[in-house]
Amino acid sequence: MKHTLAVLVENRPGVLTHISGLISRRAFNIESIAAGYTEEPDTTRITIVVEGDEIEQEQVVNQLSKLVDVIKISDLTAVESIHRELALIKVKASIETRSDIINIVEIFRAKIVDVNRETMVIELSGDETKIDALCQVLKEDHGIIEIVRTGKIALSRGPIPAKDQ
């Protein structure tokens, strides 16, 4: 099963090296990893999606926790939480096919962020399956030139932040 972990780390040089080094050395099965600043300037938050059984998941948490730069890990799978990913999709779009693409974009509540004579760039945020579904439709009907996805980020519902969980 998949687990989504919120990993709070020191915002210092070398921290990502320590984390990615550990993941590769221990051969952990990581599906996605997304990092960014937080409400505290000295803290970076990394969202990691781990694939594996309970034992593997426990090892990932325990080994990551051993890193001196890792301040806190909370498993957002266990609590009510919001999961989002952002994707930018460059799709083939001629004058004839534009309107169909616009229809699809509206159905998915996505946004068109760039248009030119041959392509359109679509921005979509949502959970993984929604992005997968849009990509599927666009790929089959129009052809995708390239995709970039951020990897999942997640936030718990309710007032308690990950650092206090």
């Binding site: 020191e10 090296t17 090892q59 325990n62 001196v68």
Partner: protein
């Protein structure tokens, strides 16, 4: 107080009660070496950076203090890598201070530049690159704290060359503020209660002692637990010494070259108390069949060790200096009942021990390596510090030396580093000048860092170096004999090396044993001779370490040898 970065390092070393550093100078650490010179700080100059890091490791293992090593940038730092990995695998507290090229040159493939932080990330507990002199006092404070607390380990502090010379208003921090590092002492008492309940139910309990007991200096509590429960005890390689070898409940080492009794007891037990162990593959054999009949209780300070290799039914996470006394508190009121409960089990395990003790074939014309170890063990009465290198002799020492005291056996267990022994012995002797330090080493391993004989002579470290000279890379040859059809691919070390002359050339006394009748006299002479001594002991080429559990086999599937086959 205003001083240079280099002086700040010296001050920090003093603040950490470091009395000696091991190292080798070079371009990037010139300023630091100048400060060492001016402060007249005790520094042991080895002949190779690898010698320095193993010496710092041996010092740390023998004394329990943090070992400190200094090397220059690039090749100097890279030469530390094997030693850092060795310390990491065995959880040895070490601080390595390396020079780095100047800040403005970092990342430009400058002369003698290597990204030692990147290189050592997977083999350190933590590491730093210091580019600003004002970070130096905090980083050193953290480095020593991280190295010695919790599960100990090596920390690398890489310092850019210009930082050594830059001025800083030095103030050593009083305390460490690390948001992500809170080493655990006391764990959850409820877990201790649960373990106690399990102990009461067990019919065939077994205590399995690991290196954690030696590292945490908790041997006394362990000994009391063993005495109060009456349970039989086995040890990993790293756990040897935590219980006296002749303790009536002690069955010896478990695992690939473990005793028959220890391996059988592990296979048959119904409760296994792993104390400061990490269930290494050399211990478990076929993992799925390891202690298959047992509930496993795992005591460790590192939560990540739980369920890493062996599934634990119960876990006790915390310092052994907390958990062992806490368990003892409960056990001691019902000590008599425990002993009654395990009476028939104890008889069973002692019968295994009686029926199939460790044996070896001897020959009146040959100097058997096992006999040498037994002789040394008698001469020293198990006192002093025993150091080994890696290979057959290492396993024989584990099997045949009568260890009495914790921290008396220094060996590269996890990484299995050939070349470790000689420099580690020097470090141990440096830390414990009044103790007898004896190194057992093969003719292969001694050559890997034989340059350090010169260090032994220069500092007059009175280490006794016993070379088991069988003219072969014994352990690898044993595997070739057993599993590769006897095709000895590049394991013959036959040559013209004269170890007595080598010793003498380095300024060390050299002695030789070629016949069994010379053994006693020469060993006694070696131990009585002041200063470092090398003894070239010529042992037979083909001797197997037995028993042996082939890699990936079940623990009770031992090749016994001798009259068994």
């Amino acid at each position: 107080m205003i001083m240079t970065g280099a002086e700040a390092i010296i001050e920090s070393l003093k603040n950490e009660n470091v009395d000696v550093v091991f190292g080798y100078p070079g371009g990037a650490v010139l300023t630091l070496y100048d400060a060492l010179y001016q402060a007249n700080f005790r520094h042991i100059l080895t002949k190779h950076e690898q010698g320095a890091v193993h010496a710092a490791d041996g010092y740390a293992r023998a004394t329990g203090k943090v070992g400190v090593v200094i090397a220059t940038s690039g090749p100097g730092a890279a030469n530390l890598v094997t030693g850092i990995a060795t310390a990491y695998m065995d959880s040895i507290p070490l601080v390595a201070i390396t020079g780095q090229v100047a800040v403005s040159l970092i990342g430009r493939d400058s002369f003698q530049e290597a990204d030692i932080r990147g290189i050592t990330t997977p083999i350190t507990k933590h590491n730093y690159l210091v580019k600003k002199v004002e970070d130096l006092p905090r980083v050193l404070k953290e480095a020593f704290y991280i190295a010695r607390t919790g599960r100990p380990g090596p920390v690398v502090v890489d310092v850019a060359k210009d930082v050594f010379a830059a001025a800083v208003d030095y103030q050593y921090p009083q305390e460490v503020k690390l948001r992500g590092y809170h080493p655990l002492f006391a764990g959850n008492l409820e877990t201790i209660n649960k373990v106690f309940e399990e102990l009461k139910l067990a019919q065939r309990p077994l205590i399995f002692v690991g290196g954690g007991v030696n590292l945490s200096n908790s041997a006394e509590a362990l000994r009391e637990l063993v005495d109060q429960t009456g349970f039989p005890v086995i040890a990993s390689l790293m756990g040897l010494g935590s219980l006296p070898f002749d303790h009536p409940q002690f069955l010896g080492m478990v695992g690939m070259h473990g005793t028959y009794a220890a391996n059988m007891a592990t296979t048959k037990c119904d409760l296994l108390l792993g104390i400061g162990v990490r269930f290494d593959d050399r211990v478990t054999g076929l993992l799925s069949e390891f202690a298959a009949k047992a509930k496993v209780v795992h005591f460790d300070i590192d939560p990540a060790e739980i369920n890493k290799n062996v599934r634990a039914d119960l876990r006790v996470v915390g310092d052994l200096n907390w958990s062992l006394p806490a368990l003892l508190e409960r056990v001691k009121h019902v000590s008599g009942e425990f002993k009654k409960q395990v009476r028939s089990w104890i008889e069973e395990v002692l019968a295994w021990q009686r029926e199939k003790p460790l044996t070896y074939e001897s020959d009146a014309k040959l100097v058997m390596p096992q006999a040498v170890i037994e002789k040394v063990s008698r001469l020293t009465r198990g006192e002093g510090v025993i150091v080994t290198d890696v290979g057959q002799h290492q396993m024989w020492v584990a099997q045949y030396y009568g260890f009495k005291n914790p921290r008396s056996f220094l060996t590269s267990g996890g990484l299995g580093t050939m070349g470790y022994g000689l420099p580690a012995a020097l470090g141990a002797q440096c830390g414990l000048p009044d103790q007898k330090v004896i190194l057992f080493v093969g003719d292969g391993g001694v050559m890997m860092n034989c340059q350090e004989l010169a260090t032994a002579a220069n500092y007059n470290f009175p280490v006794k170096v016993l070379i088991f000279n069988n003219q072969t890379l014994g352990m690898v040859a044993q595997w070739q004999r057993m599993f590769y059809g006897g095709r000895y691919s590049h394991t013959s070390l036959k040559g013209n090396t004269d170890f007595v002359k080598l010793a003498e050339a380095m300024g060390v006394t050299g002695l030789r044993v070629t016949k069994p009748e010379e053994l006693d006299r020469v060993l006694e002479e070696a131990l009585a001779t002041p200063g470092p001594v090398v003894v070239d002991i010529q042992t037979p080429e083909i001797v197997d370490v037995l028993p042996m559990v082939p890699a990936g086999a079940r623990l009770d599937q031992m090749i016994m040898g001798g009259s068994e086959e």
